[in-house]
């Protein structure tokens, strides 16, 4: 599925300084029953966000107007657990385009890259710095520059570079997906398949 191109993103950020945020929290299993990709943003962090009577939990960050923006900043080991791509969809559909953490779970990171959410892995020190700055000033902005592979805290000017596979970077900046690439080499795949007769 095509998504918006990603170039330079300057935005305030929503802090979630919790470690090991698993995909069951990002989107609980009971919301995986859709046969189309619609409405996942409404259920992002459902059980942390709403009480069982559907009223919003006041102390959860998504219910706090002080924080907003297209960047979600999470604690270490973000996105562990279930492979559900719905977790990445929920984040995208809610309006985030970038997740910052000091460590990402593998499948979640792949899923994000496949659907146009940029996972930015920073050092633990930089992450702490980001949390502190947002704490000090909730409307502080971050600039994520994909072409240069840098992330900067605008108020302090401190920045760090991040890694991304060059192929994936190309896809993100152009809004391409992998299937387009694979369909182009279908004949090679067919030839290969003949030798693996399982």
């Amino acid at each position: 599925m095509a998504y918006d191109k990603f170039d330079i993103l300057k935005s305030s950020a929503v802090p979630l300084p919790i470690e090991n945020v698993d995909t069951d929290q990002i989107i609980p299993a009971r919301f995986l029953k859709a046969t189309e990709r619609v409405g996942f943003g409404d259920n992002l962090f459902r059980d942390w966000r709403y009480n069982s009577d559907e009223s919003p939990k006041k102390d959860f960050v998504l219910n706090n107007d002080t924080y907003s923006g297209k960047i979600l900043v999470g604690g270490k080991n973000f996105g562990s657990g279930s492979s559900r791509e719905h977790a990445a969809w929920a984040i995208y559909d809610y309006g985030f385009r970038c997740v910052v953490s000091s460590f990402f779970a593998d499948i979640f990171r792949n899923n994000c890259l496949n659907i146009g959410v940029l996972p930015v892995k920073v050092s633990p020190e930089f992450l702490e710095h980001v949390f502190n700055e947002i704490n000090r000033n909730p409307s502080t902005t971050l600039t994520v520059n994909l072409p240069n592979q840098t992330i900067m805290i605008d108020a302090t000017g401190s920045s760090e570079s991040f890694d991304i596979n060059p192929y994936k970077k190309d896809n993100m900046t152009n809004g391409f997906d992998d299937i387009d690439y694979l369909l182009n080499i279908k004949e090679d795949i067919k030839t290969f398949s003949k030798d693996t007769p399982l």
Partner: protein, 465 residues
């Protein structure tokens, strides 16, 4: 060049290496289920393409299915719609489909090995993270997201950078009452839930060579819980014996040809790994988790660690203990429980039911416990009856449900209520995993059995005669 088991299988499946990009990896066998596939099939429709190799694709319904009255129409309209979508998609694309009520129906990672879809040296993917289970046969098997399901359906390939390699070696004799589940929970407690991220793990040493195929599946299944892409064990005589003559395994001269390839599937002496760990099997105790991720596990005789002694933020740790209603320094033994769940792709196979039954035999289910015994497949269900286990279970006050994922992820009605405690043989104790507000203690089938008959957390060794 000296190669690891993982190298041999991976390198043999690379169709193309993209310059400074991921590898194009050919996928031998692809399993799909109702929850992570509908949007992928929709993608194919939008692109106006068909599944490239339907004969390499297998579909089963498991995540969303009820575990009682499977012969009746599914009550939940959303679940029913997903099940119907899978059936229609399978039909449209000519894929084998084992829906609700089909004799081969069951949890995707249980039926794969049962019917010989899982083979040594194969690449296997599925839109479910516990696809790592199939690594027990020496396959490279890993979970993928829905975009990747669409990729494999349309091109039988996936784009993946080659993961790093880790080896975990455990030698020594396991103590009485220590099962493969305990070995896995022990490893995760040592490495933490992110300790193997970015790596593919090979398990080596006599603890694993001595394990049955079912035990190996339990271990490989849980690889993902320490962040690994997958786990694998070199195939041996036990492996070949297990798969021989199953429905989808090669036969005749094809078998001989395959054996030539399979017999070369081991790590060469001197091949190198990015990381290595060594543990002593005799030090492992029956394990139980006390927190909200699978790395928060302890030997049953130990106390819940102090926040000061755990790696990472104490805020996260305290949040977790609060959720569970536990305190630092407490023992788990004697904690009251409400539910017991025996099942899932981790421990829903026949050996697990045998072990559970052996433990409850001659005892009665505790009155305060609701027990859900859910076989991993119809084949397992049938074996439970035929081996006479069902009679023993009934005698002890237990009932058997119909196969499916059930309370492992609680997408159907098998939900643990708010605040209640469940001793579960499944794989995840995340907040709300078994139902909103549920509290999960992960353990082996015999630890679950001991809890079911005593009504509280009990060291299973005290019940072994």
């Amino acid at each position: 060049m000296k190669k690891t088991l993982f190298d041999k299988v991976w390198d043999g499946h690379v169709v193309q290496q993209i310059d400074r990009g991921p590898d194009v990896l050919f996928i031998d066998r692809h399993m799909v289920h109702e929850v992570t596939s509908p949007v992928a099939f929709l993608g194919l429709k939008n692109r106006k393409i068909k599944v490239l190799y339907p004969e390499r694709t297998f579909a089963t319904a498991d995540h969303n299915t009820p575990t009682i009255n499977q012969h009746l129409p599914v009550q939940d309209p959303l679940s029913a719609k997903q099940l119907e979508a899978l059936e229609n998609n399978a039909k449209e694309h000519g894929i084998s489909f084992w829906g609700l009520g089909h004799e081969k129906n069951g949890i995707v990672h249980v039926v794969g090995p049962e019917y010989g879809i899982t083979l040594p040296g194969a690449t296997i993917v599925c839109g479910d993270s516990h696809t790592s289970t199939h690594g027990a046969f020496g396959a490279i098997a890993f979970g993928i997201g829905t975009s990747e399901v669409e990729m494999v359906l349309s091109t039988q390939c996936i784009l993946q950078p080659k993961p790093k390699k880790m080896r975990i070696t455990i030698n020594g004799e396991l103590q009485m009452g220590v099962t493969p589940k305990d070995v896995a929970l022990f490893i995760i407690s040592k490495l933490t839930t992110s300790g193997a991220t970015g790596h593919f793990v090979e398990y080596a040493g006599d603890v694993f060579t001595n394990m049955t195929m079912e035990g190996r599946m339990t271990v490989c299944n849980l690889s993902i819980e320490m962040g690994a892409r997958g786990g694998m064990i070199a195939p041996d005589e036990k492996t070949f014996h297990y798969i021989k003559d199953r429905e989808f395994t090669p036969k005749g001269t094809d078998w001989d040809k395959a054996m030539d390839y399979w017999q070369d599937l081991y790590t060469d002496e001197g091949a190198s790994f990015d990381e290595e760990y060594f543990f002593n099997g005799s030090e492992i105790e029956p394990m139980i988790t006390f927190g909200t991720n699978p790395g928060m596990g302890i030997g049953i005789s130990k106390n819940i660690p102090d926040a000061a002694n755990v790696e990472g933020g104490s805020a996260t740790y305290e949040k977790s203990l609060n959720y569970m209603g536990y305190n630092e320094g407490e023992t788990m033994i004697g904690k009251e429980i409400d539910f017991v769940f025996l099942g899932s792709c981790t421990n829903g196979r026949i050996e697990d039911f045998r072990a559970f039954t052996e433990m409850v035999k001659g005892r009665k289910k505790a009155a305060n416990v609701t027990a859900w015994l859910v076989p991993g497949s119809h084949k397992v269900e049938k074996a439970i009856e035929e081996e006479g286990l069902l009679d023993i279970l009934k005698e002890s006050g237990f009932e058997l449900r119909e196969p499916g994922c059930s309370a492992c992820l609680a997408m159907n009605d098998d939900k643990v209520p708010v605040g209640k405690y469940a001793v579960s043989t499944s794989n995840r104790n995340f907040e709300g995993r078994q139902g909103p507000g549920s509290r999960t203690l992960l353990a082996s089938p015999i630890m679950a059995a001991a809890a079911a008959v005593t009504g509280k957390v009990t060291d299973p060794r005290t019940l072994i005669n």
